[in-house]
């Protein structure tokens, strides 16, 4: 295997190494400020080398089936106050800061650039900037993928802050991403709540923190829970209220499955700690 001098000859494959689908032309569209083009020219060939599947860093999967859903309107894991893509505002989008190597957002991407691979050029990043400036619209391909996967059950794909993860400051919002667009007509602030658990207190005896529940207009798969006041240091859990799982359904009518509820009929979907930095 190792003595093969070169790579595959690429016959019958597109530029990303995937089998050609008859009629699709084979090569990616030219890079433009369109999500399809950005996906095909940047996210798929460069980013999804690492950001794919179960081993994706920060849980951020940038393959074509997941990238839009996990980028647009979703708080970043490293800096939750920054959305990964903030429609209309590239300067305050985490992805731009990450690609340009800003000080506050950790290691510059693509990983290892410029040592082991080139960094994205300014002109390449400009296309992503322009797409965000345009409001970060989904692409025709993303819409098609959503249709293809519409038969799958509604499920939570990520929560920020992480489950059982300590965060250093009160997050402005808690983000829950789903695999389908949500039917927002049934979701309101009674659907779920945040609960602060006092040390030593019995389970299910915490203080409920008033919070507002909204769905991102930029991304119907991103649900936000907004505490009415900054969360002080402590241990918290995020709870879907009794009877509410049935309220969480996608636009095709699939209900959310969140496992076995506790004796109060509630489903705890995340717990996290807030710590106070000195």
């Amino acid at each position: 295997m190792l003595i093969a001098a070169c790579g595959g000859n690429g016959e019958g494959l597109d530029a990303n190494g995937r089998p050609l689908v008859p009629g699709d032309g084979g090569s990616p569209p030219p890079l433009s400020a369109d999500f399809d083009a950005i996906q095909a020219n940047i996210f798929t060939p460069i980013c999804s080398v690492c950001h794919v599947g179960g081993s994706a860093p920060m849980g951020l999967r940038l393959d074509a089936a997941n990238s839009f859903n996990l980028l647009v309107g979703v708080p970043s894991t490293e800096v939750p106050s920054l959305l990964r893509v903030k429609p209309g505002d590239p300067d305050n989008s985490y992805i731009i800061q990450k690609l340009e190597g800003h000080q506050a957002v950790g290691q510059q991407m693509p990983f290892g650039c410029p040592t082991t691979q080139p960094c994205l050029t300014t002109s390449t990043i400009a296309f992503i900037r322009q797409w965000i400036t345009n409001g970060a619209p989904p692409s025709a391909t993303a819409a098609t993928a959503a249709t293809v996967h519409a038969a799958a059950p509604l499920a939570i794909t990520s929560i920020v802050p992480d489950d059982v993860e300590p965060v250093s400051a009160s997050p402005p919002q808690i983000m829950i991403a789903f695999n389908h667009d949500l039917d927002v007509t049934q979701i309101d602030s009674r659907s779920m709540h945040i609960e602060r658990l006092d040390p030593g207190a019995p389970p299910m005896a915490g203080e409920i923190v008033p919070a507002r529940v909204t769905v991102s207009s930029a991304n119907l798969r991103a649900l936000m829970v907004w505490p009415s006041r900054p969360l002080s240091a402590g241990h918290y859990r995020l709870v879907i209220n009794a009877g509410s799982p049935s309220q969480f359904s996608d636009i095709a009518g699939h209900s959310l499955s969140v496992g076995v509820p506790n004796e109060l009929g509630e489903s705890v979907i995340s717990t996290f700690d807030i710590e106070v930095l000195p």
Binding site: G17, P57, I156, S158, I269
Partner: protein, 362 residues
């Protein structure tokens, strides 16, 4: 001068004799010396902070020239209980890909500091690995460890790197990318380890990258390695369950010393149901390190990966030629060339890289 060198050699011999198992720093050094990871590193699975023996080895046996008084000063120990260390790598690279302008740049690749606070000698410790630069500070490892890291069982809990195959310095190696387990992908959980004579074993239960946000499952990773003076072999496996699809990884790795050359090999196979339609991936590495002279190492690497076993003609290979010169304790210079071969329609899979690196460590 001669007296001090003799003293240094004597100290190394004494420290080595006190160890129940012989072991390393970079994997090729482990194979070259016949040591296990825990001989040179605080972390029994290797990498990060060097212990007193590792620091001494790096000062006396690794460099071309040993500086007088080197053993009189730095051992990494601030007090009897606190030991620190670090690595700083800065480099210049030039990357060329077909149909694209070349890019070259100076860069600070990383500055990492390590600390190990011993609370109860040989039993209880807290370990931290923090990347200070570039960009913002980022925690890599932080865990509490209880038990013996040299003979018997230990358990650690917190955030740490998973044990799987060769812990290579190059985190972009195909075997590290395809498995998704490397020294840039720490995970949170617990590890039960066992060190005895020639054996090393670890069993880890962690969140798994796919469950970082959802808590929908766990990742279980295990590794067993058997080390002899001129050869070693190991087997590793990992299984991650999540609601986006399960992922299973298996690997074999081995090392062999033939005269001045240390050989490293690893082969991994991945079944990833989280990818559309499910995919089976494979990766392999063969590395030869020739210790040309004391302080001089020539590293040749051949790598292979198949990103989807069902798809023909999509394989990628990568070949590296790196010369490592360690003139003085704490200083290493590296220069190398790397060539990628992949499908012709993807420029990134056919790039070339020239690298010059300055590595300072303590």
């Amino acid at each position: 001068m001669i007296q001090r060198l003799t003293l240094a050699a004597l100290m190394l011999a004494i420290i080595a004799l006190l160890r129940t198992a012989p072991a390393e720093a970079e994997p090729y050094l482990a194979v070259m010396t016949g040591y296990k990871c825990n001989v040179c590193h605080v972390n029994p699975t290797g990498g990060g902070l060097r212990n007193e023996f590792g620091v001494t080895y790096a000062k006396v046996l690794l460099p071309a020239e040993t500086i007088d008084n080197a053993l009189d000063s730095w051992t990494g120990k601030i007090t009897d209980r606190l030991q620190v260390g670090g690595d700083l790598r800065t480099d210049w690279t030039r990357t060329t890909a077909p149909n694209s302008p070349s890019q070259q740049a100076f860069a600070l690749e990383q500055f990492r500091v390590y600390a190990n606070l011993t609370l109860i000698p040989d039993r209880l410790a807290i370990y931290v690995d923090e990347q200070i630069a570039p960009n913002g500070s980022q925690n890599e490892e932080a865990y509490v460890r209880y038990g013996s890291t040299t003979d018997g069982f230990y358990i650690k809990g917190g955030q740490f790197y998973l044990p799987f195959g060769w812990r290579l310095q190059d985190q972009t190696a195909f075997v590290r990318q395809v498995t998704g387990i490397s020294m840039v992908t720490p995970d949170k959980g617990v590890e039960l380890g066992w060190e005895r004579s020639s054996w090393s074993a670890q069993f880890d239960v962690t969140n798994g990258a796919a469950n970082a946000s959802t808590g929908s499952g766990y990742q279980i990773t295990t590794q067993v390695a058997y080390t002899q003076p001129i050869w070693r072999v190991g087997i590793a496996g990992s299984s991650e369950q999540s609601n986006i699809g399960d992922r299973r990884v298996g690997g074999l790795f081995a090392g062999l010393k033939t005269g001045p050359i240390a050989w490293l090999a690893e082969g991994d196979i991945v079944r990833d149901e989280s990818l559309p339609g499910g995919r089976t991936l494979a990766a392999a590495l063969l590395e030869g390190d020739w210790r040309v002279l004391k302080g001089h190492n020539l590293k040749l690497t051949a790598e292979y990966q198949d990103p989807d076993r069902r798809v023909s003609n999509d394989q990628q290979t990568r070949y590296s030629f790196v010369y490592e010169y360690t003139p003085l304790p704490g200083l290493q210079l590296r220069a190398g060339y790397r060539r990628y071969f992949g499908i012709p329609q993807n420029n990134g899979q056919n790039q070339q890289l020239i690298l010059m690196e300055l590595h300072g460590y303590f």
